[in-house]
């Protein structure tokens, strides 16, 4: 429920403070107190407003003057232009520190005194990196360019002043002030004000799927009070001027006014604005005037680039890189000092070239030389490598079959490319409940009306059957659904190139996402939230029987028959279902008229005087009629009640909805005037139609009212409908409801099961079938949409039968129960009402325990005068420009008081498949799972039980308190309790250690349940630490009734205070802030649009995918990357140290024993690919083992592949290896006639072999790809040096490679040296690995055996617990999850 109309509050929360307040000075002279805020928003240009006037009109000059500064509609998302690419790209690239390092080295090498290599050679790494990145950037930019070109060249029909007609123009030529005409399924080229719609009511539907992923339709309204409300809009006659805000990125807000030539100003709102890249639906033609174009459109301003998050590992890597820098500086300093001392001790050496340099200065020079020589020590290329490796990892995650959802045909979407390894480090998981743990497929389960519970046994059974058949039905339901909506599908597929054009907001997305959007016909989800299961509600027989009284000829006029419900109860029931059917924002469509049903108001088909009277009698008003009547009077003498009503003058307001003609005629007129329509004009009509239908009354006796409703189409007023009758009856079942939230859909379907069918909707009215009465037009006066503060929505309608103004409210039970006040007046009425309330509350509680989502339905009958008064203020609120939202909220709150509680509904939201298993696996993996939900505490706890977050032997700590002090005390108390529990456990453990080893799982753990209000206190500064302390000791925490803001606060608290890795998973807009706050945000692409997905790092389609994603991919990615990073550092340290050792034998002069080309290429080419392969393909543990033993996830965390000491061990090993690799050849060749390069040759060769073989040792798996790459790397090195030594006669001047390698490799000594070097260098690593895995394996074995024993023990304990608890407190269990009975809870295997 909290997600209804989420757009508003999501944007409010996202952009809180930024654009929440108005800057706009009201046109009618309201004091503008917002001017200080004018500079808060970055989007504004000096607080100016934008003036738009028609391009072809009297304001032409003004227009030209004003609109010069407005951007055209051409867009350019490319970063570079063709000519400026190279300088721009270089400029961009040198913003990266790594490139600056390379540049610094290259420049350093140009200083003659420190020059280490040839000048070109130090340029190579820089050039390679720059080129690779430039090519990547160029390709990306080119793709964007092509895309821009395609978008810019889309054609729209724009009004041309000269030709006085709409002509085709490219999008890029559309200007602010242009009139654009669009047809159905066309995409809106720029943000436009809707000036004309072919729809008679002046509405137009748009689909914002390209903007926010929502597939439901949104209604947009023509600007009210246009002077020329003619048949066809003529741009020539449009002389109004539009003043609106400057461009901003708030999708849900638009403010401004239109000043007509007459000086009249009309307020403009978001509902008048058509947003760029949305699609027009269900409306033939619309005309709009462009107010924002190109980059100034809201869609484009919302188009931010891809997310960049820095992973934890990268942060730690940075510290290690810093250590490498320290190491480098130390080594350089040693060299510098060494060189200085060495030089000082030399007297007149003939081999020193510039002997006159002072030793200190020479040492200083050497320092810089050594920085060039040892540059490889700083693993700059590591950053590039990591990026490549992550791309590879993403590729495999993306291609995982286990993360593919067959039903939705969707893979996992990896939106953040650089935090794959964080998946393997998660310690805290914050999950939303609805839609994340559960399906978010709401199914009506049971209800309570008038204090009477209707258990809907059949319905429950049906749900169980579905549960059982779900697997089989999975594939079938897809075809079923698409079959149902076949026609609407075909309509949608007409939408030619909609996705290709309007995708602009998504350019940052991966291609697959584009694919997904470009194939809308692939998606079975045409009708949102209307799965077969949700549609087919089996009515409760008792309720049905009561409802049937409506249709029966024998109305319960006399209170004789025992089984008959009281008329009052019937009223409640009818109103209840009416409220279910109409208190929503569901769009109705049927295949014959896809999303286009303009409901024609039809007069009631069975307007028997008797029925009318009965409904008159049913209508009750707690304020007037009821209060003066004693219950016996109501029950006993309905007629007198009715008569009293009439005599009290109520009949004056008794009116049916306007007839079709009047509805259309009044389109766009002020709703306030509606109320003044007197019944005198309508009544004769109604009476006549009623009389005409009188003959059909006999058919009323038929129990099946639906059939009746189809047969009775003979009335004259309904003649227009006759054409539709057949098709409508044919596809009666195919009515499609497109709801904004699944709850709504479930309720509408439920109402329909009781033949209270919502047939159509328009801005002015609703068409509802009522059992026994037939189609009724309900005049819709207002919709007070849902918002998360009020937690309710209301509709204000004129009751079709009583004609009163009635408010139907549907909302969260807590709110409604508070607002539902006991009617003043007669005590008996109060008694009855209080009884109803008590009963309902009882039912509510029991529903919540069952894990049902509860909604309360209430109504309120408004007195005419009361309504008038309210209406005035509402109109003021609606038309105000400044703080409109606040006024509307206030107005809504004023209306929604003194409600009469009708009843409550219980909606089942089934758990997704494998949720308990997943949660269990995650908990076994050592991840603390928190559930943050907006639901009731009982519901949340029950779901927690159902998904095994709560175990029967867990101790539940509940924190509900009303004040801060109480909260502080409570936290203290709970902490003590936990402490006691922990103490007893440790005692127990201490006692057990003598007997048998205490298995970790036997610890009784605590689960904290905290409600939103208490959470508010707990999150405050003073109590934060207590709360943290407490929650840390709990196994799980459930936060119920939490707001989106609280969710993100909790995540932030845990993340920052505990310094742990957090993951947030959610599916709705209310999870966005949490998802963005967490280290890893996961969106579930479910039923609620794409908002969560858009803000997430990874988007999955089922909760169960988390286990594979974290346990397998996270584990792999982390271990791969950590190992690769270590290997990379090892490789660099090892190789660079060879050069360092040589300094001891060349007077620390910065000389190297290798050709500089080989030196540079060694890192860049010869040994660069194997680590990449290693980082992408290595599997330290097979996938199924990881899935079977989630403990390995934690083990990987605690054993920490990549921790400081591993870094130092690696560095030490590298030092050892380099020592061996240098000194074995040194001793073998010392004193001989070996030349510099001949000396380097075996060192290099063995270093290469050691580095490659080291990787083989470190790899957990070797596939043919590994082998191939390793062999190729080796071959490449030897090939290169051989060719180099053959061909390089006078190249590469400082060194002299000619003939060196050929000679070396022809001598056995070379191989002898290499063999002993390689073996000796790798010996410790092999030994360590062998011992480690031998000893660890036995440890793992012990662990496994312990687990087994543990499981048995657990099972025994469970049985004991069940015995002892079965009488005390039976854990309520989701009826649709019979497998979750605690007694049969499956046990850890």
């Amino acid at each position: 429920m909290e997600r209804l109309h989420w757009v508003q509050h999501r944007c409010r929360s996202l952009l809180a403070g930024d654009s929440g307040r108005g800057w706009y000075s009201a046109p009618d002279g309201l004091p503008s107190k917002s001017s200080p805020d004018a500079h808060c928003s970055p989007h504004r240009v000096s607080g100016k407003r934008r003036t738009v006037s028609a391009q072809h009109g009297p304001h032409q000059h003004e227009h030209e003057a004003v609109s010069k500064s407005y951007k055209g509609n051409a867009i350019r998302t490319t970063k570079y232009r063709l000519l400026t690419f190279i300088p721009m790209n270089l400029f961009e690239q040198f913003h990266r520190a790594a490139n600056l390092y390379f540049l610094f080295l290259a420049l350093l090498n140009w200083v003659p005194v420190v020059e280490a290599f040839q000048k070109e050679i130090t340029m190579i790494p820089l050039l390679v990196v720059l080129t690779v990145i430039a090519i990547k950037d160029a390709l990306e930019d080119y793709r964007r360019y092509l895309f821009d070109k395609k978008v810019n060249n889309n054609v729209a029909r724009v009004f041309c002043g000269k030709q006085k007609a709409y002509i085709d123009q490219c999008w890029k030529d559309v200007r602010v002030g242009d009139f654009v005409r669009l047809s159905c399924n066309e995409i809106i080229p720029a943000d436009m004000l809707l000036l004309y719609s072919s729809d008679p009511r002046g509405v137009c539907y748009i689909e914002t799927a390209n903007l926010d992923g929502e597939t439901n339709l949104k209604q947009r309204q023509v600007v009210p009070d246009l002077p020329l409300q003619g048949a066809e809009f003529t741009p020539e006659t449009f002389h109004s001027r539009i003043e609106c805000e400057n461009p901003n990125n708030d999708l849900s807000r638009f403010r401004g006014y239109m000043e007509h030539s007459s000086g009249v100003r009309v307020g403009l709102h978001n509902s008048n604005l058509l947003l760029r890249s949305c699609t027009i639906r269900n409306t033939e033609t619309v005309v709009g005037i462009v107010v924002y174009a190109g980059h100034e459109t809201k869609a484009m301003m919302n188009n931010s680039g891809p997310r960049y998050k820095r992973s934890q590992l990268e942060k730690r890597l940075n510290t290690d890189v810093l250590w490498c820098v320290v190491l480098l500086i130390v080594m350089c300093l040693i060299s510098a000092v060494g060189h200085g001392l060495w030089l000082k001790n030399l007297k007149d050496p003939i081999f020193v070239v510039d002997g006159e340099t002072a030793p200190a200065l020479a040492g200083f020079y050497v320092f810089w030389t050594m920085i060039i020589v040892l540059q490889v020590l700083i693993p700059i290329s590591l950053y590039v490598s990591i990026e490549i490796v992550k791309l590879g990892q993403i590729y495999f995650i993306h291609n995982d079959l286990a993360l593919y959802n067959e039903q939705l045909d969707s893979r996992i979407q990896c939106r953040a490319l650089n935090i794959t390894e964080d998946l393997g480090q998660i310690q805290y998981l914050f999950s939303d409940k609805t839609g994340t743990l559960t399906e978010n497929k709401m199914v009506f389960r049971r209800c309570s009306i008038y204090g009477v519970e209707y258990p809907h046994e059949e319905n429950a059974r049906r749900l169980e059957v579905y549960e059982a058949e779900k697997d089989k039905a999975a594939g079938r339901s897809v075809t079923l659904k698409s079959g149902c909506s076949g026609k609407s599908l075909s309509c949608r597929s007409l939408s030619c190139n909609r996705s290709s054009v309007s995708l602009h907001t998504l350019t940052a997305e991966s291609e697959d996402e584009e694919d997904q959007l470009s194939n809308p016909s692939n998606q079975p989800r045409t009708s949102a939230f209307s799965s077969r299961m949700a549609k087919e509600v089996v009515p409760d027989p008792e309720l049905l029987r009561k409802l049937n009284w409506l249709c029966s000829p024998m109305l319960p006029l006399n209170e004789g028959s025992s089984g008959s419900p009281s008329s009052r109860e019937l009223t409640y029931i009818t109103d209840f279902f009416l409220a279910l059917a109409i208190c929503n924002s569901v769009v109705v469509s049927s295949p014959s008229q896809p999303r286009h049903v303009v409901p024609e108001a039809r007069t009631p088909l069975k307007s028997l005087e008797e029925i009318k009277l009965m409904f008159q009698r049913f209508s009750f008003s707690p304020f007037s009629a009821l209060s003066t009547l004693s219950p016996p009077q109501i029950k006993g003498s309905p007629r007198s009640f009715t008569s009293r009503l009439f005599t009290r003058g109520k009949a004056g307001s008794f009116t049916f909805s306007p007839s079709p003609s009047s509805t259309t005629a009044d389109t766009g007129s002020d709703p306030g005037q509606e109320s003044s329509l007197e019944t005198s004009t309508l009544r004769p009509k109604l009476d006549s139609s009623a009389g005409g239908e009188g003959g059909n009354a006999g058919q009323m006796e038929d129990a099946d009212a639906e059939d009746d409703s189809k047969d009775i189409q003979t009335n004259p007023d309904g003649s227009r409908q006759d054409v539709d009758v057949d098709s409508e009856s044919d596809c009666d079942d195919d009515l499609l409801y497109e709801a904004e939230s699944p709850d709504e859909a479930a309720l509408v379907h439920a109402a329909r099961a009781y033949r209270c069918t919502l047939r159509g909707r328009s801005a002015e009215g609703l068409l509802v079938d009522l059992p026994g009465i037939g189609s009724l037009a309900v005049q819709l006066l207002h919709i007070l949409p849902f918002d998360s503060n009020r937690k309710r929505m209301s509709v204000v309608v004129r009751h079709p039968l009583t004609g009163q103004v009635v408010v139907y409210t549907k909302g969260a039970d807590s709110v409604i129960m508070d607002l539902a006040e006991t009617p003043k007046g007669a005590e008996q009425a109060q008694d009855i009402y209080n009884h109803i309330r008590e009963q309902t509350q009882k039912h509510l509680d029991s529903y919540a325990r069952e894990g049902l989502r509860t909604l309360c339905i209430a109504k309120k009958v408004l007195e005419e005068e009361e309504y008038e008064v309210w209406l005035k203020r509402q109109l003021v609120a609606e038309s105000s420009i400044e703080n409109r939202e606040e006024l509307l909220l206030e107005s809504a709150q004023r209306l929604e008081t003194n409600l009469t509680l009708l009843g409550t509904t219980g909606i089942v939201d089934r758990l997704q498949e494998e949720v308990p298993e997943t949660i269990e696996a995650l908990q076994r993996a050592g991840i603390k799972v928190w559930v943050l939900t907006g639901d009731k505490q009982e519901t949340a706890i029950n779901i927690a039980y159902a998904c095994k977050l709560l175990r029967p032997n867990d101790q539940l700590l509940t924190a509900n308190c009303g004040s801060k002090d109480a909260c502080a005390a409570l936290l203290e108390e709970l902490k003590l309790e936990v402490q006691r529990g922990a103490d007893s456990v440790t005692e127990l453990a201490a006692a057990e250690t003598h007997g048998e080893s205490s298995p970790a799982g036997s610890v009784e753990s605590f689960v904290l349940v905290i409600d939103g209000q208490t959470l508010d206190w707990a999150l405050q500064e003073e109590l934060k630490s207590d709360f943290l302390d407490l929650s840390r000791r709990c196994k799980a925490v459930i936060c119920c009734r939490s707001t989106p803001l609280q969710k993100s606060q909790v995540v932030r608290l845990i993340r920052d205070q505990l310094g742990v890795m957090t993951l947030a998973v959610g599916d709705g807009a209310n999870d966005v802030s949490m998802i963005q706050m967490a280290d890893v945000g996961i969106g579930i692409s479910g039923q609620e649009g794409m908002q969560a997905v858009m803000s997430s790092d990874f988007a999955i389609s089922r909760f169960k995918h988390l286990s594979k994603l974290l346990l397998v991919h996270g584990h792999w990615c982390y271990s791969r990357l950590a190992n690769m990073v270590l290997y990379f550092i090892y490789k660099n340290v090892m190789y660079v140290n060879l050069l360092f050792w040589y300094q001891f034998f060349c007077g620390f002069s910065g000389s190297v024993m290798t050709n500089s080309w080989v030196l540079i290429f060694f890192n860049l080419l010869f040994t660069s690919v194997p680590p990449l392969i290693y980082g992408v393909l290595d599997r330290d543990t097979p996938a199924h083992t990881l899935m079977e033993f989630p403990e390995l996830y934690q083990a990987a965390q605690t054993s920490k592949v990549y921790v400081p000491y591993m870094f130092w061990i690696t560095v030490l090993d590298a030092f050892y290896q380099s020592l061996v690799c240098f000194f074995v050849p040194y001793f073998a060749l010392a004193g001989s006639d070996v030349g510099v390069l001949s000396f380097g040759s075996p060192i290099n060769a063995s270093a290469l072999l050691i580095i490659l073989l080291h990787q083989v040792l470190e790899s957990h798996t070797l596939t043919w790809i590994h082998i191939l790459v390793l062999v190729l790397s080796g071959a490449f090195y030897f090939g290169f040096v051989l060719v180099f030594s053959v061909l390089c006669v006078s190249c590469s001047p400082p060194t002299n490679p000619l003939g060196v390698e050929t000679l070396q490799m022809s001598q056995p000594l070379f191989y002898i040296i290499c063999t002993v070097t390689v073996v000796t260098a790798l010996l410790p690593r092999v030994l360590f690995r062998a011992l480690h895995s031998t000893l660890r394996r036995s440890a793992a074995l012990r662990l496994a055996q312990m687990d087994k024993a543990d499981a048995e023990q657990y099972h025994k304990r469970m049985q004991r617990w069940n015995l002892s608890h079965s009488r005390v407190h039976r854990v309520p269990v989701c009826a649709d999850n019979p497998s979750l009975e605690p007694s049969s809870a499956s046990v850890v295997s």
Binding site: L346, Y404, S410, M1153, L1229, S1259, G1299, L1323
Partner: protein, 370 residues
């Protein structure tokens, strides 16, 4: 070396679901391919290093290395090597005066002779080296200080040597040929060896000065400028290196193809040594016949023309006579290294065997499944 459990998982034959959707949908389906590569099920060797699996490798290494080490050690020991220091640091040493009265400018060569005795006869070809110590031929600036193009006979480089040669690039306004510090510091002692018979007569031992440089250096890398065999005009307009007594084209006037840049002594010198203590091949003493030793045991005299100063940087000069084997000169290190490593491996193998028996046996039954 490593345990390798071949983990080949065959692809699941069935493509679940895809077929049920019908052709058109299935074709467009975004279902990932069920290939071994994409599903990361590539058959892989899993090198699980455990005591049990590396154990044979250790034994094998031990068993292979120890014999090789013994072989190398024996080979190295069979190499005969004789070394004599003639620096002249000592008062008593014959070259003391030469060493201490050295001046680059003196025109008269300082001669000294060193007597020594070979205890054992040297068979086969005997290689005569000169050895220098504390001479940093691998100094960065020194190594660079040459012009390979000039040495390759490039005319323009001859007249305009590379800047790397500074400060030995121009002398008296004329380009130095060969330029650079390496060439400038060319070792210019002359060594002659005499065998003293039992009757006291000095027999000069023929020292072959060709074939001491690498073939590639001699024939590819180093070339005299100009096509002309007469080198004097070719080097016209160039100056000799500062420290040289004679220009490059007079290095070996007797042999035209050992003169100028392709003089083998020069070439050998130009191949800079890797370590500050090094030897360079000076001459080869060819084996005369299979019956007599190349250098029979007895008394010898080494006649030195002492031109090269090393005392200034605490260097020393040596003359080395050595036979060589297939593994090069005498160096017991490799043999010892092989024997040591082999023994260590063998011992570790034994240790691992014990560990294996202690820990590994139980695990075989409860393998973590792969």
């Amino acid at each position: 070396m490593m345990a390798s459990s071949y983990n080949a998982k065959e692809e699941d034959g069935h493509h679940s679901g895809a077929s049920s959707h019908g052709g058109a949908v299935a074709a467009k389906s975004k279902k990932p391919d069920n290939t071994a590569f994409k599903q990361q099920r590539l058959p892989a060797w899993q090198p699980i290093l455990t005591a049990g699996t590396v154990l044979p490798a250790f034994f094998v290494i031990g068993l292979i290395f120890i014999p090789i080490g013994i072989g190398l050690y024996v080979t190295s020991n069979n190499i005969k090597e004789f070394e004599i220091d003639y620096t002249g640091v000592d008062n008593h040493s014959p070259c003391y005066s030469c060493a201490n009265n050295f001046s680059w400018n003196s025109t008269t060569p300082c001669l000294c002779s060193v007597n020594f005795t070979l205890e054992q006869p040297f068979e086969n070809n005997v290689f005569m080296y000169y050895g220098l110590s504390n001479f940093y031929q691998n100094h960065r600036r020194y190594v660079k200080s040459r012009d390979d193009s000039q040495l390759n006979g490039d005319q323009s480089a001859l007249k305009n040597p590379s800047k790397e040669c500074e400060p030995y690039r121009i002398s008296d306004g004329q380009p130095i040929a060969p330029c650079g510090a390496i060439a400038n510091s060319l070792f210019n002692d002359t060594l002659e060896l005499y065998h003293i018979d039992s009757n006291g007569t000095r027999n000069a031992i023929p020292l072959v000065k060709k074939g001491i440089a690498w073939w590639t250096d001699k024939h590819v890398k180093f070339r005299n400028p100009g096509a002309n065999a007469n080198l004097t005009p070719a080097f016209q307009g160039t100056a000799k290196p500062v420290n040289w007594r004679k220009p490059v084209y007079e290095l070996d006037p007797s042999e035209p193809d050992n003169n100028g840049f392709i003089n083998e002594d020069f070439i050998v010198w130009m191949r800079t040594a890797a370590l500050p203590t090094f030897r360079k091949l000076y001459r080869i003493i060819q084996k005369k016949s299979s019956t007599t030793a190349t250098l029979p045991s007895g008394k010898y005299v080494l006649e030195i023309t002492y031109n090269y100063p090393v005392l200034s940087f605490n260097g020393s000069k040596r003359m080395i006579l050595s036979t060589i084997s297939w593994m090069g000169g005498k160096n017991p290190f490799l043999g010892i290294a092989y024997i040591t490593v082999g023994s260590i491996c063998f011992c570790l193998g034994v240790v691992l065997l014990i560990i294996h028996h202690k820990y590994d046996n139980r695990n075989n039954s409860a393998d973590i499944p792969n």
